[in-house]
């Protein structure tokens, strides 16, 4: 009896904690998030209240949506660096059309370039097998060029943000940000797609073992094209939301500052950049962590330079630590 009872004792506590964490990757992330909030409360007592939380969530949502694009593409071993350009394009085109057309029409038209970029990415990566990083960087360069040319042609018409986007981006209802109305269904849809549908399973499968997937009859290029189109459209939606939040419709670098944080949020959230592992729930926590971190660094009154340094260091540290935890099985 004593022998049986002592067997579990042989595994040290540290190892058991690690094993638990690798089985439940969300737990260490949530702990990190709580620690950051506590640290914030200690540094600036009283800052953590309902308004602050609503504000943090509001700013985390566009980041989380863009990070969703990264999560889905990373699951297949890819990455989408054109999301910020697509978001900026959609927002700018929508704002420039909003004064002349009905908002719904403007939004529909503004999503066309997003669709095109998504298709181009998908064809380049899925059929020609260009490295996703390079392909999406290239299309984002082309997109920026088109946007600059377009801006010169519409400079006279002016820009306008439809009222409901401002309401959606900045408004609060009973203390809850209205943006949640958009985000909760989107997040639910992404999580549902990844976990419960054939398409989601295909994404994991392609990222995990492309050759095996191909041999089991999956047409790689179709999956990839569909994926990058979805990613681009999602980025466009994030652009609409972000322009309602930031209220800078004529900016041509609107969503640019969100690009690298969106990659970081997905990586911090535990999605492997090599594909096949990760999920959207972790990414959402990752986006919240990065938003709280930004607040923290702002409150410490660090210059922009040190903030970036710390940001990079933390992304590297968290990724390395996460890799250790997951590998140590």
């Amino acid at each position: 009896m004593s022998e049986i009872a002592s067997t579990p004792q042989a595994v040290s506590l540290g190892r058991r904690i690690r094993r638990f964490m690798s089985d439940q990757p969300l737990v260490p992330l949530v702990i990190l998030l709580v620690l950051l909030v506590v640290l914030l409360q200690i540094l600036r007592p009283g800052i953590v209240n309902e308004r602050w939380i609503a504000n943090t969530v509001k700013f985390a949502i566009p980041l989380a949506i863009l990070a969703g694009c990264q999560t889905m593409t990373m699951l297949t071993g890819g990455i989408d660096l054109s999301v910020s350009t697509v978001a900026t394009m959609s927002a700018f085109i929508m704002a420039s059309l909003a004064s002349a057309y009905h908002p719904a029409t403007a939004i529909a038209i503004a999503l066309i370039p997003a669709l095109l970029i998504g298709v181009a990415n998908g064809i380049g990566i899925g059929i020609f097998r260009v490295h996703p990083l390079i392909m999406t960087l290239g299309t984002s360069l082309i997109g920026t060029g088109f946007l600059q040319v377009y801006q010169r042609t519409v400079i006279s018409t002016g820009t306008k943000i439809p009222d409901f986007l401002t309401w959606l981006g900045t408004g609060l209802t009973y203390g809850f940000p209205n943006a949640l109305l958009l985000f909760v269904p989107v997040a639910a849809l992404i999580i549902f797609t990844l976990n419960r549908t054939g398409f989601g399973r295909l994404l994991y499968a392609v990222g995990d073992n492309e050759k095996a997937t191909r041999l089991s009859g999956v047409i790689y290029s179709q999956v990839i094209i569909a994926l990058y189109v979805v990613s681009s459209l999602l980025a466009g939606v994030a652009g609409f939301l972000y322009v309602g939040l930031i209220k800078a419709p004529s900016s041509l670098s609107l969503a640019e500052p969100l690009l690298l944080p969106s990659v970081a949020a997905a990586v911090v959230g535990g999605t492997s950049i090599f594909g096949g592992r990760g999920g959207y729930a972790g990414t959402i926590v990752g986006a919240l962590i990065l938003t709280v971190l930004t607040t923290l660094l702002t409150i410490l009154q660090m210059p922009e330079g040190s903030r970036r340094i710390l940001f990079g260091a933390i992304v590297l540290l968290v990724t390395a630590a996460y890799l250790r935890i997951v590998e140590d099985r």
Partner: protein
């Protein structure tokens, strides 16, 4: 053996393309002469160093996203240290900045080896860090460069006994580029280390089993990449006379030129000559578009399309090569 022929074929194809482009340029602008060639060489300089940095890392099987940020940091460091300093002190600054690039590059490699995080993520993180550091050194474009450094890339090299009509076509910038790259690349290519770099890029496991010190070779490859990036940063300071903390468009350009130059992403294949010729081609295309009075924004679009098409073509050829 066939791969050697194919590679040389690729490079000579690029040279022919470059020559054709020069003919086109001459047709567009009949007055295109030695002076214009000199300014082309000056414009190419930072790009060429960025490409060299990327090439060596890609051959070793990695990718360095921090190239442009590294150039920005080394450029602002050089510019702010030379600000108000004497001409002689500038020589020290050059040595210091080159050393800094080497060490920072080695840090990249060390982080990749030690943390075992994919190199894309590591260099993405160091991109943030280096960018931040550049902003700490100089918040806005500023600083200064020593006169002799600036003079190093302006004008031509007079060779005694050679008529000026010929020396006019040898801009100092081009000579500087060839000397700087050659000093590092030629001994490297002939050494055991150079072979090791190709080996780990080709197959890390096979290299390890053949007794190649994979970790230290990788670190050195990244360090040499950092050294080239520092040269690029210095050349930026030389040509503008100041340092700017915001990285230029060198990352995408360097990757595109590497691919166009016949170096396969994934490592182990290619040389330095191809990418350098490729970067001249890409810059000359831009010059031609400017000469044709194309809207600069449209030029950006065309450049982007060329790069995307080039990488698509490169990937397509690599795919065909793999399947055959």
């Amino acid at each position: 053996m066939t791969s050697v022929i194919r590679r040389q074929g690729w490079v000579s194809g690029l040279v022919v393309l470059l020559a054709l482009l020069f003919v086109v340029t001459k047709l567009i602008q009949p007055g295109y002469g030695a002076g214009d060639f000199g300014s082309l060489a000056r414009a190419v300089l930072p790009y060429a160093f960025a490409v060299a940095a990327q090439t060596i890392v890609v051959i070793a099987g990695g990718i360095d996203l921090s190239v442009a940020a590294m150039m920005a940091l080394t450029s602002v460091t050089a510019a702010s240290m030379m600000n108000g300093a004497s001409e002689e002190f500038a020589a020290l600054v050059v040595v210091f900045v080159l050393l800094m690039g080497f060490v920072l590059g080695a840090c990249n490699g060390l982080l990749i080896v030690v943390t075992r995080v994919p190199d894309i993520v590591v260099t993405l993180a160091t991109l943030f860090v280096l960018q931040g550091a550049a902003l700490l050194v100089l918040e806005a474009p500023g600083g200064a460069a020593a006169e002799w450094l600036k003079a190093l890339i302006v004008g031509t090299v007079p060779i005694p006994g050679v008529p000026e009509a010929i020396t006019a076509w040898i801009p100092k910038a081009l000579v500087l580029l060839i000397v700087c790259l050659g000093i590092v690349w030629i001994p490297l290519k002939r050494s055991r280390l150079g072979l090791s770099i190709y080996a780990i890029g080709s197959s890390e496991l096979a290299a390890f089993r053949s007794g190649v010190p994979v970790a230290s070779t990788k670190i050195i490859a990244y360090a040499l990449g950092g050294l080239f990036a520092a040269m690029g940063g210095l050349s930026l300071t030389m040509s503008t006379g100041i340092g700017a903390p915001i990285p230029g468009p060198y990352l995408l350009a360097s990757v595109a030129a590497v691919v166009l130059g016949g170096v396969t992403l994934g490592g182990g294949r290619g040389g330095l000559v191809g990418p350098i010729v490729a970067v001249f081609i890409l810059r000359l295309v831009r010059t031609d578009l400017t000469l044709l009075a194309v809207d600069p924004n449209v030029t950006t679009i065309i450049e982007g399309v060329i790069m995307v098409v080039v990488v698509m073509l490169g990937a397509f050829i690599a795919m065909r090569g793999r399947s055959s």
